[in-house]
Amino acid sequence: MPLYESVFIARPDIPAQEVENISVKYETLLTENGGSVPKREYWGLRNLAYRIKKSRKGHYVMFHIDAPAAAVVELERNMRLSEDVIRYMTVRVETHDEGPSIMMQTRQARDDRGRRDGGRRGGPPRPRSDAPPAPAQAASPAPAPKAAAAPETAKPKAEAASPSEASSGEST
């Protein structure tokens, strides 16, 4: 039987559970009409590249279909009538690739990568062990209002260290 790949986009306002129901309904529709669905993928609620029916997001579902043409026609007819499916596309393919499609593969890679450097992204810069830059910067505004003509540079730095903590607390 000819092999197809079908992708449809569901409206973003319906819950993911409802999308699951729809895709199961289509799967049974195909199997009842003499076909099989070797793969069914949910790509999630993705951003659309442009607005479709006023929305910028949609639930993407992909099927691999092995069915007679009449079954596919019936599937497309149902998609056309459904109010929840805003776009669909069925393509004839030569072979069905095994394993997750490109969309699922990149998601897995992203999850793995996210966990690795998850601590870095976002959030305020963490206090680092090399402290000298901080007191040096905080020391410059602190002696300025003081205008202390203290010849020793070590003492104002040490004195500025404690008020600098207070001033940095105020500034941040």
Binding site: V7, I9, L48, A49, Y50, I52, G58, Y60, M62, R87, M89, V91, S101, I102, M103, T106
Partner: protein
């Protein structure tokens, strides 16, 4: 076609030739499969505005360029790629 490019370009006339000697990035070993779902791969061959870049710049072979164009157009229908950006 190369001579026409040579006469109209003010730059070194040899440049279009050199580019064409580069192999097609979609052929040969380890070449990515042209898939309308592979947005990352396709974006390499699109301009900033989302237009398909001609093969004389990307040095994609002619049959691969046709398949790539078809894949891009399919992806555009599925809103995986924009028709126009900005």
């Amino acid at each position: 076609m190369s001579e026409h490019a040579r006469s109209s370009r003010p730059a070194l006339p040899r440049r279009p030739f050199f580019r064409r000697r580069k192999t097609c990035p979609l052929s040969g070993a380890n070449a990515p499969k042209i898939d309308y779902k592979d947005v990352k791969m396709m974006q390499r061959f699109l301009s900033e505005r989302g237009k398909i870049v001609p093969s004389r710049i990307t040095s994609v072979s002619a049959p691969k360029q046709r398949r790539l164009a078809k894949a891009v157009k399919r992806a555009r229908i599925l809103a995986l790629l924009p028709f126009v950006e900005r």
